[in-house]
Symmetry: C2
Subunit: 649 residues, 2 copies
Amino acid sequence: MAEHTVLFDVAEQPVHVPTGTLLSEAARLAGVELNQPCGGQGRCGRCAVQVKTGSVRSRSTLRLSAEDVAAGYVLACQAVVEGNVAVAVPPQEKIERRLTTDRTVREVSVPPGYDPAQHQSIRRLRLTLSPPTMDDQTDDWSRLKWALQKQMGRGNIDISLRLLRQMGARLREQDWQVTAILDTPMWDFCPDCPARLIDLIPGHVPDEEPLWGVAIDIGTTTVTLWLVELISGEVRAQVAEYNRQIARGEDVISRIIYASKNGGGEELRQLVLDTINELVERACGRVKADPQQIVKATIAGNSTMMHLLLGIPAASIRLSPFVTAVNEVPPLTAAEVGLAIHPEASVDCLPGVASYVGADITAGVLSSGMDDTEKVTLFMDIGTNGETVLGSSEWLVTCACSAGPAFEGAGVVDGMRATRGAIEEVWVNSRTYEPSWRVIGNVKPRGICGSGLISLLAELFLTGVIDKGGHFNTHLQTPRVREGEHGPEYVVAWGSETAHGRDIVLTRVDIDNLIRAKAAIYAGFTILAESVGVPLEMVEQVLIGGSFGKYINVEKAIHLGLLPDMPWDRFQFLGNTAVLGAYRALLDRTARARIQDIASRMTYIELSADNRFYEAFTSALFLPHTELNRFPSVAQALGQSEAVAPEAP
Amino acid sequence: MAEHTVLFDVAEQPVHVPTGTLLSEAARLAGVELNQPCGGQGRCGRCAVQVKTGSVRSRSTLRLSAEDVAAGYVLACQAVVEGNVAVAVPPQEKIERRLTTDRTVREVSVPPGYDPAQHQSIRRLRLTLSPPTMDDQTDDWSRLKWALQKQMGRGNIDISLRLLRQMGARLREQDWQVTAILDTPMWDFCPDCPARLIDLIPGHVPDEEPLWGVAIDIGTTTVTLWLVELISGEVRAQVAEYNRQIARGEDVISRIIYASKNGGGEELRQLVLDTINELVERACGRVKADPQQIVKATIAGNSTMMHLLLGIPAASIRLSPFVTAVNEVPPLTAAEVGLAIHPEASVDCLPGVASYVGADITAGVLSSGMDDTEKVTLFMDIGTNGETVLGSSEWLVTCACSAGPAFEGAGVVDGMRATRGAIEEVWVNSRTYEPSWRVIGNVKPRGICGSGLISLLAELFLTGVIDKGGHFNTHLQTPRVREGEHGPEYVVAWGSETAHGRDIVLTRVDIDNLIRAKAAIYAGFTILAESVGVPLEMVEQVLIGGSFGKYINVEKAIHLGLLPDMPWDRFQFLGNTAVLGAYRALLDRTARARIQDIASRMTYIELSADNRFYEAFTSALFLPHTELNRFPSVAQALGQSEAVAPEAP
């Protein structure tokens, strides 16, 4: 087969590929990163590149305008090399890497009563062994094991071959004085279960020396890592970064598709490991800790993220009947997983419940405390999967409603993630229909993030720019409502006001996507409540997790019919509950056992097979809902109308 | 530092090394294998090479004659490169690789009453799982685990990350019909201890399909491997090969020294793995089995061999107070150890007792049955370490007496291993002092192996060629006794009769080495008997293990004072008891537990710190012994004298 030369303007070297190679594959070989939020399915249009010379065969030009196509733009994931080509990569597709971290740091206090001796599974023991003599020729491992058993009061102890190889030298280096680090995760539950030796340090390490662990939440979008000192329980550094997998698919479905391609799974595994390992470096750098001294990691994340991290095929998650390969991952070590911390560090992947209710939710339930209160509680993670849990200390039911990534800025023309340049809140004048907005970082806007979209949609509805079906009122006297390339649209910002010089708009298609997303979430928790016979009014608190949820304006979310109409004081935003749960599990064996208990107690309700869900979803495809009596406060607001924009900040 | 070129005549390429590099190191880099039986200490003289051009600095020329030195011979392990050199490797030092296997195959029968369902820790279960549906979205691993638990009646089950990655595809390949292979080593003893999943095979594997395991004995000289079908219990192939580590030290001490050098440990580990993996290939080739289908290995071997196999530093074994790093190796997998069988195969390294009483002895005791009889039994492994066990089902004591490698042909001028061309038995005419001999393979002799040395020494003693102190009677009328380069010697074969054209002799120094070896062994078991207050006469049976032992002539060994003077019918030669013990442990969980029990019951007596041992050793430095009354049958034979040579075979 003929070989062709492909030269990317941003690459150092051309690459040589056979006829039929995708441009996206050639880019990968050339080390050129392209955004592929849809996972290379040709659906999102984000991998568009411009062919300067030579020709390619383009399977699809979806989302490209006629002008784009005329100018030589193709979708890299749909264009097949047929000869030598030179390709330009548009600068706007350069991948954003750095997260604005000020949004991710939070105050965390050590749980009251935390006592490492009581709660921490990691133990650090100082031992003084009697050296072997001709009268006591006990082998090193038995000598060490007996000393450990004596100090711990019991126990089987596991040692790895790696540590066996180092043991003799470590014991002798400081004359049979040594500090042992062990993990005893099952200490309280299984007296016969072995403790595991993680490290042997020559000499006696003083108590003041920090003992390090990390709590990690692998989000589809963002990976969050807390560096924790395990004796004090203090969080010493908080860092977060976009999951590098984003460039290979913006949502879990796209990632699963990408992972199913040849080598895709391994590539995604490496990308998330790179993300985590860089975060470890960054967190350690802040407090001058050595990553090799981190001896324990707890990991939360949705089921897809967990599978991809571990290199376990995730295809069955996407296909009916939607099952994971594994919900409860066995205990692993850092070396097995590929984390750049102490190779023998315990890696505890927290348990999930189902394909779309993962360890991020079980950890979130723990940190929300809903499993420990008599109050009937609704716990929600407003995101692509719309995971929802209803219950109390007595019972727990859960579901996921495939909301789609609209609230995360995907599937919306000018949607973007909640980062610098994103419009995060909007007010629309009810007479002039002119908007004002607040932008993250106080810069010129580049797009609209989830909270901004909710805010905008609610404002457009209350001011009558759109009706309850989401249709534009095209009779309004305003240049803001116009006919765009894809139908009617509202101009949020004119090109003169934006960072990139293009108008920022919300289209009819965007609105449909947003309404479908909110309808799915609303239908999810109503069906959940119905299935256990608990009317929504009986819900005593609504806890909203997920870092996105933190920025939602409750009033506007109720106006849309995204959240149920309840007194505002029943709502509480908890931020990233997943990493908080991982932190609790990192500190406390009992908390870890509680997550296990939560996972096994949760009854999972599959909505995709449920006709009631489909009906509830259809009824919710209106603003706020077909049945306005479910939303008395919105009915009242619609009566008053006229939302007034505050002073622009 | 200056670089020099070193060219070996047998190498394809020259190598470039800095000033000060040892020639032996240069040889290693060039891929030239040199014999280094002493481990590179400059003691054995076997790594002699001839420097053709250029110069080296020679630290020691021990064991080289003045003529050798004049001809440019140096010891590769003692010669330091100082300029460009060309080196010739003498052909006689080419390393012997192939073992005459006819000596290693034996009849083995399956233990009576062997029932895999009862005894075998490996279980093969055929499962038919109900596929997941929208009403049963159990994750794959729970689904599989529950089916396994149901079929096994109980249990915790461990799965590796490697298998988790393959599980989903394996389950679906044959429509949720699958065959699981598990190891349940602790089944009888610990109900909570997990079974370990080794493999998942799509479809239902019929019972007739073989299930493979291997029993391995890693000897210092020879590695023996039996390929076993685990359901029938039958040994389907027996193979053996020289341990490739031999070229890096002939005895354990030399190996430990070599391993302590930079990279030496890893090199030795790789050499023994190469040996084992080649044996696996060979055994599987014979019965058309796939090495990847071998799911369990049990390994016996002395403590040094076990440490070197696992890459665990063995230095402390050699140095007072002589302790191992580990006597009881934790359960491992083939991937961890580096065996080229199924990566998840269980690798069970059998437990040892002390630095010089290893798993070869505990396995040997099991297969000898001495731990299960009321008869007072003496079990001996006549070799370098002279391991000896005394006891019965009631009690067991053990010791090792550093006999040195004389009986293995090392430390003796014309000594060699028991292979083709070795004189294995000798008769000396009591009037003419002319010898006749039997050679392994019926070829011209190249040297004398251990059994030949015992035979020769006994004959020389009984015919009066040497006296009880091992001194030559130089007044005899025979050209066979002469003054050699290193003192008086006996010519066993004239150059005209030998394969290499040189005389084969036994020197005064050789005789001293042999007497010291037999004295150490005799002193060992007498002190053992003394220490428990059991007179040697009370010993009801003497069981001799080790493949070497099989060929000893009891009468002659008693004449020398190597074995105690007892009726011949109390002696029994068991051959390689270590591999037999490993085989029993491979088949039977109970046998494996018995080895554990043997290891923990055995009281180890350290002789090197024992004055009584030194006295007993000194008294035994005569033929047969200072106290002739201990050897009444020898006294009688000396009275009759006149040993008559039989017809040459």
